[in-house]
């Protein structure tokens, strides 16, 4: 089974499950985490881990791949929990998922990092510095927090004369609206590998044979059929 860990408002995640062969992809609902059947043993010798997906008990071995779409379980989506307890229960559920997703042996797009379920939720500065350390030219990130002035959210943009291109890494594949040059493919894959992720949206400013790193993030567009198909093929 291909499991998708996503908010119930994530229409793209639901559409991905519907795109897969019937019954082969399921959305993990937060209600599943309030259902008998979850077992995570610190020592595998104590028993087999188990989960509940779409209200059905399942073993880890039956899971062929996982896509994680949210950084944590959102408290406001735990309507089945009394309001006063939602923040705590959400934190507990997230903590279990971090350990469970880290341990799974199947492909996970992306494994938890730094407490975030869907991979490294880094600020732009960290991505830019990583890109620079890999030898990529990068657009500097400017950030400002000054009393009395509107905070400036760091949003690097393409330099004048350059065209912004989105390149998505899905496992070993690199997808874009038009075929990207090999140097761009290599840059995207190198960045994803260095960040420890298998699913990554990158933006590069391109002019001829030149390219400059602009940004990277986990907000991959699932509506792009090629991305969805690549994910399902990995399962």
């Amino acid at each position: 089974m291909f499991v998708v860990v996503a908010s119930r408002t994530d229409a793209a995640a639901r559409a991905l499950c519907e795109r897969a062969p019937p019954g082969s992809a399921q959305l993990l609902s937060w209600r599943d985490l309030s259902t008998p059947g979850w077992r995570y043993y610190g020592d595998p010798g104590d028993g087999d881990d188990g989960a509940v997906i779409a209200d059905t008990p399942i073993t880890n071995a039956e899971i062929t791949a996982v896509l994680t779409r949210c950084p944590a379980v959102p408290p406001h989506e735990l309507g089945h929990i009394v309001p006063a307890d939602r923040s705590y229960v959400a934190a507990e559920m997230t903590a279990l998922l971090v350990a469970w997703l880290t341990r799974l042996r199947c492909p996970v797009f992306n494994r938890p990092q730094d407490g975030c379920l869907c991979g490294p939720r880094w600020p732009p500065e960290r991505w830019t510095m990583l890109a620079s350390s890999l030898g990529l030219r990068a657009v500097p990130v400017e950030r400002r927090a000054v009393p009395g002035l509107a905070p400036s959210a760091p949003r690097p943009t393409a330099p004048p004369g350059f065209e912004l291109r989105t390149v998505t890494v899905v496992g070993a594949r690199v997808l874009a609206s038009t075929k990207p040059p090999e140097t761009l493919v290599d840059a995207a894959l190198t960045l994803a590998s260095a960040a420890g992720v298998t699913l990554l949206k990158t933006e590069f400013a391109v002019r001829g044979s030149e390219h400059v790193f602009v940004s990277a993030g986990l907000d991959v567009d699932l509506a792009a059929g090629s991305v969805a198909d690549a994910l399902l093929a990995a399962a």
């Binding site: 309030s34 008998p36 059947g37 028993g47 934190a91 971090v98 990068a138 657009v139 000054v146 905070p151």
Partner: protein, 296 residues
């Protein structure tokens, strides 16, 4: 020498470190979390990070900051820290802390392992420590089977949210079906004596904590804290564990059984070390100050 402090000035660990820094002749740059309106930050990041921190006392170039001790409180609990500027300031500090070459005690990313106890426990095990048999479950039957195998159990939070460690009593066991609502962490109760070990890079300060309660932090009678010396193998393992977790400062919770076996439960990335220092006289704050100033 420029050392940055971020948090609440009245917070005991932060206040103590500030005092030790001043004693060492270093006036730290203090970002008071309650007064974000006094602080401005501008950052430019590419291959390096540059910019300025503007504080009431002075303005300092980002690249001139040598070290930082970060101990922020949950901003949602600080009225004055929920403005857009306060939020932007916090994000800027965290972004800077993730990319600066300065020593940061501790980097936010490194602290995250504590937010999932079972995840962190695997890292502790990988470092060579014995850990208690552990189950996280929504399944009451799994709890009963686990108890049948391992005997007396305790339960506590799975996440970094603080909880009181409690025994699974017969009375509490009657409500076991309630675990279905929320993943619950249970562990075999390890009988023994608690030790809190503060690691400051290569320095180790061990405190023996004697208490009749399952969780000495909530004991009705105050526990007895005494300075102690760890076996060298355990001491070195603590240093290696803190380094593996990329925590220049760590509070490691151990327990030694009557048979002399050492178990590790958790690594606290932002330890309230002053409680132990006050009781034992161990110079933990001074060690942290030396670490921040590059002297030790």
């Amino acid at each position: 020498m420029n050392v940055l402090l971020w948090g609440l000035p009245q917070d005991a660990p932060l206040a103590t470190i500030r005092r030790e820094l001043r004693r060492a002749g270093v006036e730290p740059l203090t970002i008071d979390q309650r007064r974000p309106d006094q602080i401005a930050i501008e950052l430019t990041t590419a291959a390096t990070v540059t910019g300025t921190f503007k504080l009431p006392s002075r303005t300092v170039a980002i690249e001139d900051i040598d070290a930082a001790y970060l101990r922020p409180y949950d901003a949602q609990r600080l009225y004055s820290a929920t403005t857009p500027h306060a939020a932007a300031l916090a994000e800027a500090i965290i972004a800077w802390a993730g990319v600066t070459p300065a020593l940061v005690v501790n980097r936010p990313a490194a602290m995250a392992s504590n937010e999932s106890k079972p995840y962190q426990l695997e890292l502790i095990r990988a470092a060579g420590f014995a850990v208690p048999p552990t189950l996280i479950t929504t399944d009451a039957n799994a709890v009963r089977q686990f108890a049948n195998k391992h005997g007396p159990l305790i339960y506590k939070s799975v996440s970094g949210v603080r909880s009181r460690v409690a025994r699974l009593s017969n009375e509490r066991a009657e409500s076991l079906d309630d675990v279905a609502w929320c993943p619950t962490q249970l562990q075999h109760h390890i009988d023994g004596v608690d030790h809190r070990v503060h690691v400051v890079k290569d320095s180790v300060f061990a405190t023996r904590v004697e208490s009749a309660d399952d969780d000495y932090r909530y004991a009705e009678r105050a526990p007895t804290l005494t300075e102690t010396t760890l076996p060298s193998q355990i001491k070195n393992r603590c240093i290696e564990l803190a380094a593996a977790l990329e925590l220049p400062l760590a509070g490691i919770d151990l327990r030694v059984t009557p048979e002399g076996e050492w178990y590790c439960f958790e690594v606290n990335p932002s330890p309230a070390f002053t409680y132990y220092e006050s009781a034992t006289g161990q110079p933990i704050a001074a060690a942290i100050a030396r670490l921040l100033t590059g002297v030790g």
